[in-house]
């Protein structure tokens, strides 16, 4: 698309590279908000427990992990209560996994829109991710409750002020990977089938149920290449007042997050114009 003036638009065969058109994205900001709200509203329509599910899912999962990995397998949790330890890690992990699952399929479930009306397609996966952010907010409120319950064992520190920054890193990473997945999913439905499996393997490769300190030193660097390790460690550091900020893994997370975001946006732009013909 080439704009010659505000009112002029040239529609022509796809060019090889064009950057994200921020002016156009801004013009469609209301659609973004409304689509995200739609996803939030629809998610728990016709369910008995409604929003309670958002609370139950991570809480029950944390309890199960606590029983299996702490009580039975006796994994250490860096001196913090295991439930808090695993829940703090699950906050960013669930957001990441939720984005992959929801945004990954978003273009296909909104195929009817794509074939009938124009708007920047990138709004669809990003709006799905925004809807997952709502779940994160609810789960975070539960985290605050847990911190209150365990107030004798864990004290909140100034580290917590780093949270918005950490959230930004997860957002960058999640949206980047989601853009990749959603775009490729239109062409190859394989991704839809591989995803649950990949998410599960990725979870065990990340320090969710165990502590990063258990990883042998010689594996540290390779281990830190998983961008989610830095994020999970960072969340624990901020919420549970861990002594050492995970500099190595966090810098790698930021770097890899940026790469994923740029790569995802690039891939998306490259294939976007043919969605309507393929989906």
């Amino acid at each position: 698309m080439v704009y010659r003036s505000a009112r002029h638009l040239r529609i022509q065969p796809e060019s090889l590279w064009f950057p994200l058109d921020f002016r156009e994205l801004w013009a469609f900001r209301d659609l973004f908000v409304i689509l995200a709200l739609r996803d939030v509203k629809l998610r728990y329509k016709q369910t008995l427990l409604g929003v309670t599910w958002v609370i139950l899912q991570p809480l029950v999962a944390s309890l199960i992990f606590t029983i299996i990995f702490s009580r039975i397998a006796s994994l250490p949790s860096d001196g913090k209560p295991y439930l808090l330890f695993v829940y703090a890690g699950m906050l960013p992990w669930n957001f990441f996994a939720g984005c992959l699952q929801r945004a990954g399929n978003s273009l296909i479930s909104d195929a009817k829109l794509i074939t009938k009306v124009y708007f920047p397609r990138v709004i669809i996966p990003i709006a799905s991710s925004a809807a997952v952010l709502m779940d994160f907010a609810v789960a975070f409120v539960v985290m605050v409750g847990l911190l209150f319950v365990y107030r004798d064992e864990v004290s909140v520190t100034w580290n917590i002020l780093a949270l918005p920054f950490l959230l930004l890193v997860v957002l960058l990473l999640s949206i980047g990977v989601s853009l990749f997945l959603s775009a490729l999913n239109v062409y190859y439905r394989d991704f839809m089938y591989a995803l649950p499996f990949v998410v599960q393997v990725w979870m065990y490769a990340s320090p969710l149920v165990y502590s990063a300190s258990m990883v042998p030193d010689r594996w540290r660097v390779i281990y830190a290449l998983n961008p989610m390790s830095g994020v999970i460690d960072g969340f624990r550091w901020a919420l549970l007042g861990m002594p050492n900020f995970p500099w190595l893994s966090m810098s790698l997370s930021i770097l890899i997050g940026c790469l994923f975001f740029l790569g995802g946006a690039y891939t998306f732009q490259r294939v976007e114009s043919r969605f309507a013909d393929v989906v």
Binding site: Q12, L113, V117, F119
Partner: protein
Amino acid sequence: MSDIAIRVEHLGKAYQISHEQGRSRYRTLQEEIIGAIKRPFSRSADKRETFWALKDVSFEVKVGEALGIIGRNGAGKSTLLKILSRITRPTTGYADVYGRVGSLLEVGTGFHPELTGRENIYLNGAILGMTRRDIQRRFDEIVAFAEVENFLDTPVKRYSSGMYMRLAFAVAAHLEPEILVVDEVLAVGDAEFQKKCLGKMGDVAKEGRTVLFVSHNMSAIVSLCNRALLLENGRITVDANASQTVSSYLRTGMLDGEFCREVDRPGQKLTIKRVALLRNGQISTTFYTSDTLVVQIEFILRQRLAGAQIAFEFLTMLDECLFSSTNQDVIGDKPVFEAGEYVLCCPIELSIFRPGQYQIKVSSSIPGVEMLDIVEHPVLFDLLDDSSPVLKLGQDRRGLILPVLEWSLSTK
């Protein structure tokens, strides 16, 4: 600046058609990988073929002009609109568009059955390119136009189809783009609704906005548009004022009220040559609920054939089959045809159908033995209301058909 709203130059759109049976448009990685391995060895065996849905199309539309686009199904009308509304990209050429385009390729795009009327107005409005402020400003107008005041907080899945259509059109009708692109959306709903929609479209055109309008409804084209294009096989064959274009379209016998085909299908025992819809003996695409429509089917037999059945399905535009009928229903058990040409006629009373648009699909077979011929294009017609109870009582109702039944009243 110039008074041009749209300039289209040598626009073309090609699709890759795969000839492999049962293969979907998207591919699996496995296919892709195997394809990549095979390709160097079997370059010629690639069965994909290029199909030009639109080829070398050029025209201009002036600001404030209402341009009609007509042509058979598959002539490229929808592809053209999809390119102009930026849903798909052209393969060759370009289009310059001056002004904001609002496109209405379907009524109710993005409507979600679980959401309420109010939520859907905002969702649909935003999808069509309105800002939340635009929608807020016109909210009451939209609701009044749709006549759904009392059902705003009801999920639209509980709406009658009439209410649903009214609401969907109402949102779209309150778009305020400089260029409005509309595809065949007025062919749904009852006569009252259609009249309302056409009126609204007329207003839009009169306000000086540019309108591109695709329809099978020739009278709507003539009354709404100053100029019309006729598309045939992806090319513009006529570009003239609306009534001229419509009459040359009717003259070519390519109307959707009729289907004609090259008779030469070598090796086929039976070929359906022509399907026509007749109103008082004339081919027509527009019928009224008080009419009797005659489906006329001409077919040619190359050899003596026993048990050949000619059948048609009567469908809504959503491909819901209302009924089907065959020549064997009355002519009797397994007629034997000698080689030759035949004409079958089947009258249908239209009074029990809802006003709207319908399609008739014709095929022939020897039941349980073999398929003889399938007419690839459905024959379309518009059914307008001049007698239904909906019109008389002014109230909409549910149901796929609308029979008038013999009620009787007596005192007990």
